[in-house]
């Protein structure tokens, strides 16, 4: 693959994009998991699919490209995240109802746009399960910009995000603008999901956000350690998964998730062993 990497620009873009999402997906995933928002990530990825299907539909109906699928996916994802927050404030005591609403809405819209675009095509398959060959130079630059933004905002608002994640009521009482910070966080999540989909695919993107965290949670001391460990695990899963997916000609979404699950199993085994020794 190394030789191919140098030879083919698009492959290099794919690999670099993989490195980026291996950082940002578990980074946000850490907060998503501890705040029990994993299903929201899943809901958002399906809204992103609707956006991508919309972009593909435009691409097909109008020969000139109005809105590349990445951008239409981003737009739908961000709008979807704002909509989720609206729903969650309307159904205060049944907040999880936002998830089936947004998830079915996303799938419904996707089906409509896919049908309008005359059915499935390989490009759509790539977005569903991820692809090792789909990242263009332009998309790579967009994802790089998103990654820088995400890391910067998490760095700047780390203490507020952590305070909010640990104890929402306390955060509000102590004068932190919980609502605004939460909205900012959900929008970041939407951006990361849309950015990750090209590599891991709609159906598996939430796995890349949560599995590395599930693994590191079992062995980390403290939140910060868990965050860095999650990134390390996520990066490992993306690198091994992407490379093996490329050689075995399997969509990388599948191989990445399988590696992430292996890491999870190993950490569970390690913990068991440690407990038995102690």
């Amino acid at each position: 693959m190394i030789a191919d990497l140098i030879q083919f620009d698009f492959l290099r873009n794919t690999f670099l994009t993989g490195i980026l999402i291996g950082i940002i997906a578990p980074l946000l995933g850490t907060f998503i998991v501890v705040r029990r928002l994993s299903l929201i990530a899943d809901g958002l990825s399906h809204v992103t699919l609707a956006g991508i299907a919309f972009g593909l539909f435009l691409e097909k109906k109008f020969t000139f490209i109005l809105l590349p699928p990445l951008y239409s996916g981003l737009a739908f994802s961000v709008l979807g995240s704002i909509f989720i927050e609206k729903l969650r404030s309307v159904y205060k005591s049944y907040q999880e109802i936002a998830i089936p609403i947004i998830l079915s809405g996303g799938v419904g819209l996707s089906v409509i746009f896919i049908a309008l675009a005359d059915g499935f095509n390989t490009e759509l398959m790539n977005f569903l399960f991820g692809s090792a060959s789909a990242v263009s130079q332009g998309d790579f630059i967009t994802i790089l910009a998103i990654s820088i933004l995400v890391v910067l905002i998490i760095y700047l608002f780390y203490k507020e995000l952590f305070t909010l994640s640990f104890d929402e009521e306390y955060a509000s009482v102590s004068g932190i603008h919980s609502k605004q910070i939460h909205l900012l966080f959900i929008i970041l999540t939407a951006l990361v999901i849309a950015a990750s989909i090209q590599i891991v695919g709609v159906l598996l993107v939430s796995a890349l956000m949560t599995l590395p965290v599930a693994a590191s949670m079992r062995i980390a001391k403290g939140f910060k350690q868990m965050m860095f460990l999650s990134i390390a695990f996520g990066e490992l899963a993306v690198m091994i998964g992407l490379t093996s997916g490329y050689y075995l000609n399997i969509p990388p979404g599948g191989t990445i998730v399988v590696v992430a699950i292996l890491i999870l199993l190993i950490t569970i085994g390690m913990k068991k062993l440690r407990i038995r020794k102690a």
Partner: protein
């Protein structure tokens, strides 16, 4: 209201939908006092605290904090708070004692600023103050209920509040630790000069440590010295509790 009072509630009423929970309450907290707030379950103690903290707005009446109307009050770090629910946090949350206590400074430090060495030292000091210095880098989920409660007190102390409000902090804490807990509160009140408002069911214990006792059940049935509270007739007490009670003072 006298000039010693730092919190004052005047003619406060509050209802959830149609249910009146607080009915024309007048209540003050004097600087340096240690008030034990007691009363039956559902008597409105938590509601009263939420009003003081600005989480709820009173239907009528006025509240002033540190001689300022609550609407204008900005200096929230003067008030530390340990909630009734703080012990119901997600036990699997991988945060160290240090990290949890650090959240007590988040709002004081402000946006776009970071923890300095000085902040870190004051976090460690607050942890020491509650006697948890052995566990600074331990995950909070691995501690006992009583230890966790101490960590939450450290979190509320780290911003150096003048008033500390604790809502039933000893629920789920074993007897031996409840005693140590009261000694800690006593020390905070006497030696650190922190004013305390403690909601509790340990009537017997709180009357030993508090400087004042207040008994709330929709209206304020009693507010005075612990000695006078213990002299209340069982008739007066049952009026406050809505059923008959025997005041037992048991040694914890």
């Amino acid at each position: 209201m006298n000039d010693k009072s730092i919190i004052s509630l005047q003619d406060i009423s509050y209802s959830y939908e149609k249910k009146v929970v607080l009915d024309h309450i007048n209540f003050t907290i004097d600087k340096g006092s240690f008030i034990g707030l007691i009363g039956p379950n559902g008597g409105g103690k938590t509601t009263l605290i939420k009003l003081i903290l600005g989480i709820l707005k009173p239907a009528s009446g006025s509240i002033s904090l540190f001689n300022q109307p609550i609407e204008q009050f900005k200096d929230w770090r003067k008030i530390g708070f340990v909630s009734q629910k703080s012990n119901s946090f997600n036990k699997g949350f991988p945060a160290t004692v240090f990290e949890v206590v650090s959240t007590g400074l988040t709002s004081k430090i402000g946006y776009f600023k970071f923890f300095t060495q000085k902040h870190k030292a004051s976090i460690k000091k607050a942890i020491e103050l509650v006697g948890m210095d052995e566990y600074v880098y331990e995950n909070i989920g691995n501690l006992s209920g009583g230890q966790q409660q101490r960590v939450f007190i450290a979190r509320s102390l780290v911003s150096q509040p003048e008033l500390l409000i604790l809502d039933e902090p000893t629920v789920g804490v074993d007897t031996e630790n409840v005693k140590r807990f009261y000694e800690l509160l006593h020390d905070l009140n006497r030696n650190q000069g922190i004013t305390l408002l403690l909601v509790t069911h340990d009537t017997g214990t709180v009357t030993k440590f508090a400087t004042d006792v207040a008994c709330l059940n929709k209206t304020l049935h009693f507010h005075g010295k612990p000695g006078d509270y213990e002299k209340l007739s069982s008739e007066e007490l049952s009026r406050a509790y809505g059923h008959s009670v025997n005041l037992v003072s048991h040694d914890h």
